[in-house]
């Protein structure tokens, strides 16, 4: 289905061996390299009184550390890097997708125009991978903090009522993965379609409010993904109070 040139499936731009490299995969490599460069540059020769890039990154980190500490309490030191990585990856992915070269430079093939760069979260593969990683990390941390026995007691129980609740909770875990992935995918993909449609109608001045909307949506969706992962981890790693 094509609406203004945007397709649901990410376009394949090449092959490495038997791996089909799509434009979103290629962009995600670039985003990873960008984050690595920023991280190394900010942490290179750390000064006690920060300035420049170190200062900027520290202000971001401190702001979110306070928010995470509010919710996570004593487990913040373990949980914070995980959720902050999700946030940084998603927000850098969303914002780089708004840059000028995305969706426009590419090459022509028999099936049409294939752009070389594409916003990474407009691909359901990326968001599903992020949601799955979030779920696996949540359960791994729960097993680490609660121990295997207490962890399993949540899902299976001898009491029939709690057994039913356990089954519902298992189903709930799958819905969490689906909801996380589709929320991020839907927002960013819909933003891509909107901007592409409005740009195909009148490419000057008119897309500006939509770009502004995409800036807001990019930040909100990254923050929501982070907060949801954080809340799920905190809830799952909490020691079950005995009745």
């Amino acid at each position: 289905m094509e609406k203004g040139g945007i397709v649901l499936k990410p376009e394949v731009i090449g092959h490495i061996g038997s791996l089909a490299v799509t434009n979103t995969l290629f962009t995600s490599w670039l985003v990873t390299i960008l984050l690595l460069v920023i991280g190394i540059a900010a942490g290179f020769r750390v000064k006690l009184v920060p300035s420049g890039l170190q200062n900027f990154m520290e202000s971001i980190i401190e702001f979110f550390y306070a928010t995470v500490e509010d919710l996570a309490g004593e487990r913040t030191k373990v949980i914070f890097p995980i959720v902050m990585t999700f946030f940084l990856y998603i927000i850098v992915g969303n914002y780089t997708g708004l840059l000028p070269l995305f969706g426009t430079i590419g090459f022509h093939t028999a099936d049409g125009f294939v752009p070389l760069l594409r916003s990474i979260n407009s691909d359901l593969n990326t968001t599903l991978a992020l949601a799955l990683i979030s779920a696996v990390v949540t359960h791994a941390l729960a097993i680490r903090y609660l121990g295997i026995k207490d962890y399993l007691k949540r899902w299976v129980s001898l009491n029939p009522i709690f057994l039913f609740v356990g089954i519902l909770e298992i189903v709930g875990e799958f819905t969490k993965v689906v909801s996380l992935s589709f929320r991020l995918f839907g927002n960013i993909f819909a933003g891509e379609v909107v901007i592409s449609t409005i740009s195909s109608m009148f490419a000057f001045l008119l897309p500006l409010p939509f770009y502004f909307l995409e800036l807001i949506v990019g930040f909100v969706q990254a923050a929501v993904f982070m907060m949801l992962t954080l809340v799920f981890i905190v809830i799952l790693t909490e020691k079950h109070e005995s009745h």
Binding site: M1, K3, L8, S179, F182, R183, F185, G186, N187, F189, A190, V193, V220, Q221, A223, V224, M227
Partner: protein, 67 residues
């Protein structure tokens, strides 16, 4: 006429979330109006709630896109 399923999907699917987001905003406005100092606590919670409600509309939008 061939776009009717997509139109219905997103049209009807946006009713619930639209009402939901409006109600969340209304209650947030009331809370901030009664206690202006609480806006730093109410605002992030409101945004989080709105993002959840909007996600339902996004599910409907994805269905509208793929059909």
């Amino acid at each position: 006429m061939e776009n009717l399923p997509s139109a219905l999907a997103i049209g009807l699917g946006a009713l619930g979330p639209g009402l939901g987001i409006g109600l969340i905003g209304m209650k947030a406005m009331e809370a901030i109006g009664r206690n202006p100092d609480s806006s730093t606590k109410v605002l992030p919670a409101m945004l989080l709630g709105m993002a959840f409600a909007e996600a339902i509309a996004i599910y409907a939008l994805v269905i509208a896109f793929i059909k």
